[in-house]
Amino acid sequence: MSKSPFQKPIEIKISTVVAVSAILHTSDGIALDAALKGMTGGVSDFFEGDLAVIDVGDLAPGSERIDWSGTIALLKKYRLNPVAVRNARPDMVDEIVAHGLSLDTGKRDETSAPPVAAPVVAPAPVAEPVQAAPALIPGANGGANAATVIIDTPVRAGQRIYARGGDLIVMAVVNNGAEIIADGSIHVYNTLNGRALAGASGDASARIFALSMSPELVSIAGVYRTFEDGFPADQARQPAQIRLNGDKLDIQSVNSTTRA
C-alpha cells in the first residue's frame, strides 16, 4: 500500500481535463479576431490560458481551407491554449497533427452550438471522449441509474467529483472552491456553494437541483453562468433547480409552498 511520491518517477492515470470548445463558424481569421475581441471586451486575461478544443464541425462543407498557424496564434492571443481539434475532416488530419494538436475523435456534442451572444459559450468538460460502460441515453431522465454516484461527505475546497455517465447525488454541503461534475443531473440535498457542471458530455436535458442554491458557477451541457454579483437574491439559499432553456440557464424555485 506504499504510495510515496518518491518511489515512482512517473505515474500514468486516467484523468479528465476540462477544456472549452472553440466552435468555428468561419475560417476567416479577421472575422474570428473581431468576434473574440467583442466577446472578451478587450480583457486580455479573459480566458486565463484555458485549454481549448477547436471544433470545426460547424464549418460549411467545402468552406475555405483553415489557416491553422493563424488560428492557433489567434486563440493564443486571447489566452486560449488550443490542444486538440474536434470533428476534423480526414483531409485536415495531416496538417492538424503537423501543428502539434491532437485529434478528438469523440462523438459530436448533441448541444447545438450556442450563439456568441449567449451568456458565454463553452461546451465545457471532457477533452477525452468518455466511454462509460452504461452508455448515456440522452434525454432519458438524464442518465442511467447504474452509473449514479452518491456522496455522503462534504465536498470541500479543491475537491472535484465527477459522475461519469450518470447522475451525481450529494447529501452533504458542497463548499466554495469545490467542483462537482456529472454527465447526467446533479442533486444536492444540502447547500451548494461550489461549482456544479451537469450534462458534462453534452446532455442538454440535465438539470441541477439543490436544497440551498448559491453556487459559484453552474453549467449545463457546456453553457455556463457565473454569479459575480451574487446569486439572484430571491432564489439564493432556497430550494431551486437550474435547467437549460435554449441557450439560457433558467433558475426556478422548487419550494413546495410556491410551486403549483
Binding site: 506504499s2 510515496s4 475546497a157 479543491g158 475537491q159 452533504a172 466554495n176 469545490a178
Partner: protein, 271 residues
Amino acid sequence: MARIIVVTSGKGGVGKTTSSASFSTGLAMRGHKTVVIDFDVGLRNLDLIMGCERRVVYDLINVINKEASLNQALIKDKHCDNLFILPASQTRDKDALSEDGVEAVLADLIAMGFEFIICDSPAGIEHGALMALTFADEALIVTNPEVSSVRDSDRILGIIQAKSRRAQSGGEPVKEHLLITRYSPKRVENGEMLSYTDVQEILRIPLMGIIPESEQVLHASNQGNPAIHFKGTDVAEAYEDVVARFLGEQRPLRFTDYEKPGLLKRLFGAK
C-alpha cells in the same frame, strides 16, 4: 492505545504551533505521556515556543536518517516530566522527510509508551504538511474566523480525507476536531468577524474549542512558555477546556459572548 493527532490548518499564522504547544502541554499536565513533533522542516519554531531552542542537538531528520537515536533527539520539556519535544531541522530540506522514515519514527514513539503524539504541521499543502497528516488518527483543524483561513481549512480537510493512511486503507476515517483561534466576540458582534457558528456551518466538523484573541499569546511566545502556563488568563483557560474536551469531559463553551463594558468599567478603565 497511542493516538496520533495532527495539528493543521492549511493557512499559515493561524496558531498551529501555539496550539500544538499548549495542547501537548495540557495533556502532559494531566499526566499523559506526550510527545510533540515539529514537522516544519526548514522553518522550525516549535522549540522557540516551547523554550527549548538552546537544547536542540539532534532533530527529526537526524532520526529519520538514523544519524541519531530517538532518545538522543527527544528533548524533555522544562516544566512537564511527561512531555517531550522532537524538533524539526533548521538546515535540511523538507524532502528529507520520507514517508517510511516518518512511519518508523512514529512506530518507535508508540513502542516507547507515548499516549499522545502531536504532529505540528507546517502551513500549506506541500510535502511537509502531507507527512504530518498521513499517519494521523485525529486532526485538530486550527482556523481563524476569517474567510481565507476557513477556505484553507476546508481544503486541508479534503486532503486528510483523501491522503491520510486511514483514508487510503479504507479504515475508520480520521476524527476531525475544529479549533477556532484568535476569536474576538466584540468583532463578531460588530459584524467584522465570522462567528463560530458561521465557521461551523462551512466546515461541518465538531467544535473542540474557541481560543479568544489575546495579547497574552505573543507574550507567551516571546517568553518561550506555552500560553496554557499563564494561569488565570482567558487563553490558558480556553486551552484547558480544549484538553478536557479532548479527553472526553463536557465543558460549556466560553469566551464567545461579548459583554459590553459597564459604565464604571468604562469610566475607570479595565486594564
